[in-house]
């Protein structure tokens, strides 16, 4: 089998790429998608840990399932907010949506 550290390194790389996406992009969709990369990295870790270190191999998977639920919920709400913002501001760039007061 592949050593566990390989999976951890992979997840770390994916996490960093997602982090870059969050910090460097302006489009709200792009930011939400980069966030999905972070969640994916977390899930790789959870499942790799459960596969290598856990005897029953279920707890990690159950956690990953709940991460999926959170990911879907977060995307659905984030994009709904994006559409609402689009309707009022005609933009989806985050640095232009700072006028929440007015």
């Amino acid at each position: 089998m592949v050593p566990l550290s390989w999976y951890l390194l992979l997840a770390a790389a994916l996490f960093s790429i997602g982090l870059y996406g969050i910090l460097a992009r302006r489009n709200l969709v792009m930011i939400l998608m980069s966030l999905e990369l972070l969640l994916n990295a977390v899930n790789i870790n959870l499942i790799a840990f459960s596969r290598y270190l856990e005897e029953g191999q279920t707890i990690g998977r159950v956690f990953a399932l709940f991460v999926y639920v959170i990911a879907a919920a977060e995307t659905a709400l984030g994009l709904a907010i994006m559409i609402a913002v689009w309707r009022t501001h005609q933009t989806v760039a985050v640095d232009e949506i700072d006028a929440l007061k007015g």
Partner: protein
């Protein structure tokens, strides 16, 4: 450290998939076209699903594809279709922000890698993969000693998301 392993089918498959996945992820965060980014994101999801197959948990691979390719990506495509961001490309941020982001992300990766490589992780799983233990997963998910409360709460969460998101996004 665990790098002195023989290179068999699995190692090669892992390295190949890892290279493709990371390349797709990089291309995704750098792509100007939002739609291309979504397609590349799907490639990343497929890559991650392949890792789950390599780990011997193909059920999670199925979950990954169902929820991300079938759910999240479709949602993203439709969201950019109904806003005009669909055709337009994403204007880049000022170079200063981009470099800053790259430095932050790079140092996070270096830090994490340093931490990971300091620990003597196991190179082989504790137990062999069990055949068809999906029933066990279901039992843990709904048993009282297991995760029944989060299970029901996730239903509640999705209910709230359905109502909330529809309320926000609907036409007035």
């Amino acid at each position: 450290m665990g790098f002195d392993v023989s290179f068999g089918f699995e190692q090669i498959a892992f390295l190949l998939t890892a290279a493709l996945t990371l390349a797709a992820a990089l291309a995704m965060v750098f792509s100007r076209q939002v739609f291309h980014a979504i397609l590349l994101m799907i490639a990343v999801f497929v890559g991650v699903a392949t890792f789950y197959v390599l780990l011997g948990v193909s059920f999670m691979a199925g979950m990954q594809l169902f929820i991300y390719v079938g759910g999240v990506s479709v949602l993203a495509v439709i969201a950019i279709m109904v806003t005009r961001g669909f055709m337009g490309s994403d204007r880049p941020r000022p170079a200063r922000t981009t470099y800053g982001a790259a430095i932050v992300a790079g140092s996070v990766f270096i830090g994490l890698a340093w931490l990971i490589l300091r620990v003597p992780w196991p190179t082989v799983p504790l137990v062999a993969a069990s055949e068809n233990d999906l029933a066990l997963l279901g039992q843990v998910l709904v048993s009282r000693a297991g995760f029944v409360v989060p299970f029901e709460l996730s239903s509640l969460l999705l209910f709230v998301v359905l109502l909330g998101a529809l309320y926000i996004a609907r036409e007035r």
